[in-house]
Amino acid sequence: MVAISALGSRADEDDLRRVLDDDGKPLPGVKVPNIAEDMLRRIFDCMMLVRIMDDRMMRIQRQGRLGFYMKSIGEEASHFAVAALRSTDWVYPSYREQGAWFWRGYTIQNFIDQMFGNEDDPIKGRQMPVHHSANWLNLVSISSPVGTQIPQAVGSAYAAKIQGKDDVSMVYFGEGTSSTGEFHVGMNFAGVWKAPCVFLCRNNGWAISVSAAKQCAAKTFASKAIGYGMPGVRVDGNDLLAVWQVASEAIERARAGEGPTLIEALTYRVQGHSSSDDPSVYRDPKEPEIWEKKDPINRLRAYLRHRGLWSEGWETELSERYNQEITDALAASDKKHAPKIETMFDDVYEELPWNLREQRAYLMAQARSKNPHHHG
């Protein structure tokens, strides 16, 4: 099958930046990035949270408790390009970087409240699950139409430059998104403006059911950078150390005023696009097995173990704690109400115009006639 050989062989190409081998050992002759031990452990901790959360959310989705979910199992390392940023830098995620949210301090309760669109949902129940927004963390709202966030991230990056600040913007997207007009537009504006922007393309092999080979005739996605006058770097997206290394270099370049970088993080979507997807229809079930051997958590665990930074007891403790916190957050969410009916009309504009006031009054009268005890 073409897709297997293509993705399998591409991982061994010369231009792919790697630090760890598939067993988590540093490759001979490769410079290992100097990441503080505490930072490495925090990243492993956060990767564990992402995987546990994915597992729990998918289970409750299958039980019918949650309408929709999107997992990122096998791609967690690529999320942690964000770990090389400062907290003042801006991040424009797509919908498969849960790690970026947790890393910046988005809580388990925030996450679950958003899943259920309840009264404490940070976005007030305005979007379906997995469409987070957290302005207090400089994390920008997720949009479903892919690629729209790319020129927006370039705008934030250039705004920082105009204002003489050294903030960087980082924008995540999948390889399928590189087919959009917005990808071209954003990359081109960033190149021309030398905007301090880092483009992180997670090449996970599949855009729902369409393989990477059907998105792009070029040999690599990173090669697209040439046409925009910026460097393009390919990195093993399942190698946390390599992801951190190339992200750090790109961020440093951006902060120094040298302009944007495109990073292609080669990874693999081990499971379906979303809870609504069935990959058995369109791809060989053996394909994910190849990638399970390159699992980013296994590799980082092995590396940490070599360095004496991991113990089974620690991982068990993490797993138990996160599972318990998720259980508690789900229980708390169960007790929360839906947002009040009248909030449907808030935030369309800063102030309610007459037509929305009129429509709100109409809907509230309807609600009262159905439930005379409603005082909302």
Binding site: W90, Y92, D121, P122, I123, K124, R126, Q127, H131, S133, A134, N135, W136, V140, S141, S143, P145, T148, I150, P151, Q152, A153, V154, G155, S156, A157, Y158, A159, A160, I162, Q163, S169, G181, E182, V185, G186, N188, F189, V192, D346, D347, V348, Y349, E350, P353, W354, N355
Partner: protein, 324 residues
């Protein structure tokens, strides 16, 4: 008080606000050294520099997409779309992104971007330089739509747009960019958004118009008066949210109403106005509310003056509503 045309009034508003607020930046195609194809930003590049009057690569989705990112970061971008006919590559960024940012983020991310764009026909520009696409954007929750008809309103409304926190589509009537002249105060003033202007008082028929059609409505009203018909002319100025109270008050007085717009008839903004008026003032109406509009065709080139509403058509509709 100086006399200005609409272009000069727009430029004066931009300069006034750029001086008052260092967060205001202009971006678009040819807006820099050249000063825009209609010269609206002429001189601003020299005055404020390349960081605040930004020539962009040629891509509308990029102009609006980056303007959104700038606004989220804390700037107050005022992008120019060279002709409203070119706005559609940015339609998704405007309709799905810009207009919805505040709402879909639960109020976390207001997105104060004011998009300026010339609208309307009568300049021998054909389909790609003449359209009036306001209805598409009025139908977009989260966006305000403003359409001045004269220099005084253009400056006061644009200043008001740049000082509030919602995204706005600011549509400028290009046919009368230079032909429409009037006294415009120097310095600072704003016109409240959402307020129509009664530009001519009358008792028998209410004419509703905006943008380039206000002068047509006034011409028709003058001719009608010569024939003994008293016509009230209302310039809506803000199309979203529109000033329902002023409209209803006028129609209750006159009992008759004609809506004039350049855009195609079907699902044009006139339809919404008529629906809203009849919901609130049915018992006051002496006749059906009529429309004088562009046709449901693409905007034609050679026959543009056959396409555009004119005073004679408006008078025809006034007579029809009086004789009903």
């Amino acid at each position: 008080m100086p006399t200005m045309n609409i272009i000069e009034a727009v430029r004066d508003a931009l300069r006034t606000q750029m001086k008052a607020d260092s967060r205001v930046v202009i971006l678009g195609e040819d807006v820099g050294k050249f000063g825009g194809v209609f010269r609206a930003t002429s001189g601003l590049f020299d005055e404020f520099g390349a960081d605040r009057v930004i020539d962009t690569p040629l891509a509308e989705a990029g102009i609006i997409g980056t303007a959104i990112g700038m606004a989220l970061y804390g700037l107050r971008p005022v992008p120019e779309i060279q002709f409203s006919d070119f706005i559609f590559p940015a339609f998704d960024q405007i309709v799905n992104e810009l207009a919805k940012f505040r709402y879909r983020s639960g109020g976390q991310y207001p997105c104060p971007v004011v998009i300026r764009t010339p609208v309307g026909g009568g300049i021998r520009g054909g389909h790609y330089h003449s359209q009036s696409p306001e209805a598409l954007f009025i139908h977009t929750p989260g966006l305000k739509v403003v359409a001045p008809s004269n220099p005084y309103d253009a400056k006061g409304l644009l200043l008001a747009c740049m000082r509030q926190n919602d995204p706005v589509l600011f549509m400028e009537p290009k046919r009368i960019y230079r032909a429409s002249k009037g006294e415009v105060p120097e310095g600072d003033y704003t016109i409240e958004l959402g307020k129509a202007s009664v530009v001519r008082e009358g008792t028998q028929v209410t004419l509703l118009a905006w943008s380039g059609m206000v002068s047509i409505a006034e011409e028709a009203a003058t001719k009608a008066e010569a024939a003994g018909i008293s016509v009230e002319v209302i310039d809506l100025r803000t199309l979203s949210p529109f000033d329902i109270d002023t409209l209803i008050e006028s129609v209750k007085k006159t009992g008759r109403c004609v809506v004039v717009h350049e855009a195609p008839r079907t699902c044009g903004f006139g339809a919404e106005l008529i629906a809203s008026i009849q919901e609130r003032a049915m018992e006051y109406l002496e006749a059906p509310i009529l429309r004088v509009t562009g046709f449901d065709t693409p905007f034609p080139y050679s026959l543009e003056h056959e396409y555009l509403p004119n005073a004679d058509r408006v008078i025809g509709a006034i007579r029809q509503t009086l004789e009903w």
